[in-house]
């Protein structure tokens, strides 16, 4: 949290359940709610709009690990993800390729990503905000996420050994009907 407080940002896009069938995609809205760069922490909510098995939009709260090579590296080390799973997923992002060899060597520990035009993260959903756990969706897995600082887009891949592989999340920052970009902010005491 900086002295100027947290800036609230909204993104909108889709998540594909299957990489083959585009029509299975559901709409997704993401809001960033908190950020603590010192601890490599980010959090927010994700709203899935036309989920086939759910009657209402499903909102989950997620917490993110920013791969800053200080707090977190490219290796997940938990959530049933092996380094091979990690590299397989990170490699799906074109912007990851220049980093690959170093990540294979040490998880990227020695990389300086502070000026890199992309921010890599893992988002792990923690709880359902508006529905019960019987809503037909699972939050057992987590997302490998890549944020582009250039165009503000977010791409991600959901990883859960028990779900379909490589479910793709594609988001773009949204201006929510405004002719430009507007930001509100809060500051915790």
């Amino acid at each position: 949290m900086g002295v100027l407080g947290i800036v609230h940002i909204a993104f909108a896009g889709t998540q594909n359940v299957s990489s083959l069938q585009k029509d299975e995609a559901w709409r997704v809205n993401v809001r960033i709610q908190g950020c603590d760069l010192d601890h490599g922490y980010l959090c927010g909510t994700m709203e899935a709009l036309n989920v086939p098995l759910a009657d209402t939009p499903v909102v989950t709260f997620w917490e993110g690990e920013i791969v800053d090579t200080k707090n977190y590296t490219f290796f997940t080390g938990k959530w049933e993800a092996t380094p091979e799973d990690d590299i397989r997923h990170w490699s799906k992002f074109p912007s990851f390729s220049p980093l690959l060899s170093q990540v294979e060597a040490d998880g990227g520990k020695s990389l300086d990503l502070s000026n890199y035009p992309n921010i890599f993260m893992r988002w792990k959903e923690q709880y359902f905000v508006n529905v019960g756990i019987d809503c037909g969706l699972t939050i057992a897995g987590f997302y490998y996420v890549c944020f582009s600082c250039c165009d503000g887009s977010i791409n991600g891949f959901y990883y859960d050994p028990n779900s379909s592989p490589f479910q793709k999340l594609e988001l773009k920052s949204t201006n929510e009907g405004r002719s430009g970009f507007s930001f509100s902010s809060y500051q915790l005491q």
């Binding site: 905000v129 405004r178 430009g180 005491q189």
Partner: protein, 655 residues
């Protein structure tokens, strides 16, 4: 007659006998008063009210040096009046007891000296006691003579004077140079009492002074430090407490002496254990724990690992706790939850939030303040804010009630907690609004006290964050456009900043909300423009630029109004626009906010974008942005790219 005399020990009668001309009667009365008031606060207050203190001081002042019994009893009674009761200290000081007590320290009778020293120590334990001028040569000499005395009570007095009066680094240095550290270390080997007072005064001499800490650490080749290390495990609880406090003071300024994880864990565990001790030790232990871990994330993490948090919570749940100890525990819990999310999670899972909210209604202001601070700390959890865990009537109603607490400090503390709670992402802010919270916040935003004003505006700013249309209108109706405009121009820059951030949140969301800043002849917009041009504090300008940027993400009229403020026609093109100054400035946040503003003003698809681009170009804004493609701030650099990409769409991107 003897029967009626002995039964006639009511305060007014005793006071009358204190004034008796008969020495024996006077002495007997003195002894009786002293016996009645020892450890009895009510009795003390009743005698103070009846004016007994000046009479007793007068007896001390007029007694001859050989009149030992009278001197001893009057000095002891004065000490007892001053012990633990501020009104007593005040009464004793007001009637000039100080010099008389110091005078009897040179009495040939040791018992008289004892009584005088003990009495003075009682007075020096109070914050109300006057500061002893250590820097004055004569006084320093006298202090040294006290410390070097053979009499235990007198050395104790010397140490107490240091604990009470040594505050500045100059005073610490003088004491250090005079060899006081060495003398106090020697006293550590004395009686239990000497050890404890020496520990306290050593802490006062080394506090916040790395030079003196270094000297102490090297004293006797480090043996002095090792001696205190041993006292951390002493069998007497108070000694353990004071030794822990000493290491807290050392560790604050010279962490190298408190590096070992083992030592740190030991201190934390001892302080937690001391909570179980009765009286003063148990009362002071949580405060000592709070200081040990304050602002130190590594200590807080360690405290979490050694289960300090759950022990504190369990203690809290045990049942009624004495006010001082409750205050201390709440403060220790707030430190523990101030930075680490896992601490906050554990706190919430221990179900103690209701005990803390109950403490919001405590009789003592200090406890109410500590409860607010604890809630403020726990509500830093975005995870729980997002789940709407805090905004419920059980917490909100007592906090709102505290907004009209008679104590300003309580009001400020309540505002701090409210500021966090109202961030609430779950659109449940109506709970706060429905219980009349807005009205109180608005009232306090007009307070004469700048701290209250700041915190009230801060809470309104967070309440305005992502608020729905009705909620926003409700706040504005209560606050009024003119008050908001005057808060933007408040004499305090920190209030200007929060007020501008409030406006920034107001004009976010639905486009219609932008209209509010143009109502009443646009006084809000004009105030924003004025601050952007004139404010000297960067943070104020940043929030001001974000207001303009959010407004510039509105309709054509809105965008034009922002242009008007950034490139005022009255400047006639002669004055450099403020936005160029910001873009060229050192502050990356301000550069970024300014670029966002340009991005919104030239946002493709809006009819006047091309014209605005041309005007910005003429004013030199576009060429300035083009020089920033390698801005060291990543955020600014990428937004420069967005701005340039947008400008390309106007067909003529040349400056």
């Amino acid at each position: 007659m003897p029967a009626s005399a002995s039964s006639n020990n009511r305060p007014p009668d005793l006071i009358a006998r204190l004034n008796s001309g008969d020495a024996a009667t006077k002495l007997k009365a003195l002894r009786e008063v002293k016996n009645q008031i020892i450890g009895n606060k009510t009795k003390k207050l009743s005698y103070i009210k009846l004016g007994a203190v000046p009479t007793v001081v007068e007896i001390l002042a007029t007694a001859g040096d050989s009149d030992s019994s009278i001197l001893i009893q009057s000095a002891a009674a004065i000490g007892s009046f001053a012990c633990g009761v501020d009104a007593g200290v005040k009464a004793v000081l007001d009637c000039g007891a100080f010099p008389h007590l110091f005078r009897i320290l040179s009495n040939p009778d040791d018992k008289v000296v004892d009584a005088g020293a003990r009495s003075l120590r009682m007075i020096f334990q109070s914050k109300l006691a006057p500061k002893y001028d250590i820097l004055e040569e004569k006084k320093m000499e006298f202090l040294l003579s006290l410390l070097n005395s053979e009499n235990e009570n007198v050395t104790g007095l010397g140490a107490s004077i240091i604990t009470h009066s040594c505050e500045t680094s100059a005073e610490q240095k003088v004491l250090c140079d005079a060899g006081v550290l060495q003398r106090l270390v020697t006293l550590l080997e004395g009686s239990l009492n000497q050890r404890d007072v020496s520990l306290e005064s050593l802490a006062a001499i080394v506090k916040n002074n790395s030079e003196v800490i270094l000297k102490f650490a090297n004293l006797d080749s480090g043996r002095a430090l090792s001696a205190i290390n041993e006292l951390v495990k002493d069998r007497y609880p108070r000694t353990r407490l004071l030794a822990c406090m000493f290491f807290t003071v050392i560790g604050d300024k010279a962490p190298c002496y408190l590096q070992s994880i083992e030592m740190r864990s030991k201190l934390i565990l001892i302080l937690v254990e001391l909570l179980e001790e009765p009286d003063r030790v148990g009362d002071e232990a949580p405060f000592a724990l709070a200081s040990l871990i304050a602002d130190k994330e590594d200590f807080q993490k360690l405290a979490f690992e050694v289960d300090a948090l759950s022990k504190l919570c369990k203690f809290l749940c045990k049942g009624p706790i004495q006010a001082k100890r409750l205050e201390g525990i709440l403060l220790a819990l707030s430190e523990l939850c101030s930075k680490l999310e896992n601490c906050r999670s554990q706190f919430l899972s221990m179900q103690v939030l209701n005990v803390v909210t109950d403490s919001l209604n405590h009789d003592l202001a200090e406890v109410r303040i500590a409860a607010c601070i604890c809630i403020k700390s726990v509500t830093r959890s975005v995870k729980n804010l997002s789940a709407g865990h805090f905004i419920n009537e059980m917490t909100v109603i007592p906090l709102v009630q505290l907004l009209h607490d008679p104590s300003t400090s309580v009001q400020v503390a309540a505002l701090g907690a409210i500021s966090n709670i109202v961030v609430d992402f779950k659109i449940r802010k109506s709970i706060f609004i429905q219980c009349g919270g807005v009205k109180h916040l608005v009232q306090l935003s007009k307070s004469m006290d700048p701290i209250l004003r700041l915190n009230a505006v801060w809470a309104l700013r967070n309440l305005m964050f992502l608020l729905d249309k009705t909620g926003k209108e409700g706040i504005l109706l209560e606050l009024t456009i003119s008050t908001l405009a005057s808060l933007i121009c408040d004499p305090e820059p920190s209030i200007q900043e929060q007020a501008l951030a409030l406006v920034r949140n107001l004009v976010d969301g639905c486009v219609d909300s932008i209209e509010h800043v143009f109502s009443e002849d646009g006084i809000i917009m004009n105030s924003v423009g004025r601050q952007v041009w004139n404010a000297s504090k960067t943070e104020v300008c940043v929030q001001g630029m974000y207001v303009l940027s959010n407004v510039a993400a509105g309709s054509e009229l809105h965008k034009e109004a922002v242009m008007h403020h950034l490139l005022p026609p009255e400047a006639g093109g002669c004055t450099q626009s403020v936005i160029i100054k910001f873009l060229q400035g050192n502050d990356s946040q301000l550069r970024t906010a300014s670029i966002w503003c340009v991005v919104n003003l030239t946002y493709p698809g809006s009819p006047g974008a091309s014209d605005r681009f041309a005007r910005l170009r003429s004013a030199g804004v576009i060429s300035q942005i083009k020089t920033m493609v390698h801005d060291p701030c990543l955020d600014a650099k990428f937004r420069v790219r967005t701005a340039i990409d947008q400008c390309m769409t106007f067909g003529n991107s040349s400056a």
